[in-house]
């Protein structure tokens, strides 16, 4: 779908990035200054790499060996910027149709009304961008980029300028893009919650290079990346499918590689894929199978790794058929003698997995 291999120098800062992304949502993650935006700008043709190659859906956009360097307007990529960059002298409708008018009719594969419905834009079509809230502006910016019929949508921290309520207001719209329009997205962010919720593949960048790439579950489970993927947000991502609905107790059973997980009822069809994030602080450990407790989800597993930390707590990686993180105090770790190789039982409170931590699975 997307293939790139680039070397560049931005000011004094060298960037070297090579990756291949499959269809779906690919997140570009890393601390600020890692070079994420530069990479996206090179994809869009706003920044010229010193050498390399970019191929999107079989179309060569850049190839230093063959002297190919398409101008931004010929790359057919949509770009949603951190600041919405709406044109102030046009209405919302004018902004939306700006790119659309430049696309030949036979290439307009995304319908105007579909986009307006999907992003709930119809009440604001006649308004001026300056009367919109930050979240509304970003929705218009997304719609505007989509209507230019891109092969790939680039989003550079589209939620970074929004406060938390606005973020959660706009996230479902972005989820809907992939699901309903089938468009592939490169999503830049330094927020793990967003990435887990939206992305299928994850590319971790630091200091102008790519540190790791793979599926979201793999990367979030790696201990060596914890400095980058964040401590407070530490957690494991489980890829599950909805297995059963228990109407009487209002619970949903999800099956995954480690077994079955019970959650408060989710309004999803049986068989639908779902990705959930279990935070390390919501997982506790026991040496024997616990009895007579209210926790529904208990999984037997083997300790793989014990993290090192200055604080009173440590993170423990447990293999329960897939990686799971638990955060326990150092005292418990010492008293229970939790070391790699030890068999333990991991307890996940069902209520601990809230809807905000839910993401859609691949497909």
């Amino acid at each position: 779908m997307l293939e790139m291999d680039l070397t560049a120098r931005v000011g004094n800062f060298p960037i070297k990035a090579a990756f291949q992304a499959k269809a779906g949502v690919t997140a570009l993650f890393g601390p600020s200054g890692a070079g994420k935006t530069s990479v996206v700008n090179m994809l869009a043709g706003l920044l010229r790499p010193s050498q390399g190659r970019i191929v999107v859906q079989g179309h060569v956009l850049f190839d230093s060996k063959h002297g190919i360097d398409l101008a931004p307007e010929h790359r057919q990529l949509g770009y949603v910027f951190q600041e919405s960059r709406l044109f102030p002298h046009m209405t919302v409708a004018g902004n939306l149709s700006y790119g659309r008018r430049l696309v030949p009719k036979d290439r307009r594969h995304i319908d105007f009304d579909t986009v307006v419905d999907l992003l709930a834009l119809s009440p604001m079509l006649a308004r001026s961008p300056r009367t919109l809230s930050g979240g509304e502006r970003q929705r218009v910016a997304i719609g505007r980029a989509l209507l230019a019929a891109p092969r790939l949508l680039l989003m550079d921290e589209p939620l970074a300028n929004l406060d938390t309520p606005r973020r959660s207001e706009i996230l479902p719209f972005i989820e809907g893009l992939q699901r309903q329009l089938g468009i592939s997205i490169v999503y830049v962010s330094h927020n793990m919650d967003e990435i887990v919720r939206l992305a299928d593949q994850l590319i971790v960048m630091a200091d102008g290079g790519i540190v790791a790439q793979g599926s979201v579950d793999e990367i979030t489970a790696r201990l060596d990346l914890r400095d980058l993927t964040g401590r407070w947000d530490a957690g494991a991502v489980l890829t599950t499918t909805v297995a059963a609905q228990d109407q009487r107790d209002a619970l949903t059973r999800l099956s995954f590689q480690g077994g079955d997980l019970w959650l408060p009822q989710l309004d999803l069809d049986i068989g639908s894929p779902l990705r959930i994030r279990v935070r390390a602080r919501d997982v506790s450990l026991a040496l024997t199978p616990p009895q007579g407790i209210s926790v529904l989800n208990v999984f037997a597993g083997r300790v793989m790794e014990v993290g090192e930390d200055d604080g009173p707590q440590v993170d423990v990686l447990v293999d329960i058929g897939c990686p799971l993180w638990a955060r326990i105090t150092k005292r418990s770790q010492r008293e229970l003698d939790i070391v790699p190789g030890r068999m333990v039982h991991a307890l996940i409170k069902a209520m601990a997995v809230d809807r905000r931590g839910l993401g859609n699975g691949p497909g």
């Binding site: 307007e73 990529l77 949509g78 600041e83 044109f87 002298h89 700006y98």
Partner: protein
Amino acid sequence: MLSPLEIEALSLSLKVAVWAVACSLLPGIAIAWLLARRDFPGKALLDGLVHLPLVLPPVALGYLLLVLFGRNGPAGAWLHDWFDITLVFSWRGAALAAAVMAFPLLVRSIRLSMEAVDRRLETAARTLGGRPLRVFLTITLPLTSPGILAGLLLAFVRCLGEFGATITFAANVPGETRTLPLALYTALQVPGGEADATRLALFSVALAIAALVASQYLARQLSKRIGL
């Protein structure tokens, strides 16, 4: 109320100023764009050349025009031979003199306004499929329009008041190049012409104020429309 001579001077002034400003608009936008957005060798020279009329005595500029565009001057002879246009002693010459004098004001205003346009909007338009020329016409130019309007009005008012370059280059021909300021000057040369001169001075004041008020109003409307 107005004497035929006054009407003549007034309408000639308006005609000269309108033509001068209308013909400067496109070159003004082009040069403002070059100065605001491009880097090229000789940029400082072009900048200085555009601003020359601001610092040069108008009479000196009128003389330079005469050397260049007089009937025997290089440009003047060419215009005469190929297009049968003579600038000296004609209202066209007065318009040229006024245009040259007002040009720096026009360019300066457009340039400042163009430099203030958020270039990230232009980048966004490029990613939406807009070629550079289209982006210029649909994004840059509309967002520059308040500056263009202000520059046009400023230049217009400057043209109405042009005296030194006009009288040196196009001379003081009644009905052809005798604009308001020239008519005022002529009135002062005649004994007992003070009353006429006062009337003409008042017209000039009224015209200038009307133009400025109109420009303020239009600029506000325009800014509102483009959402600034």
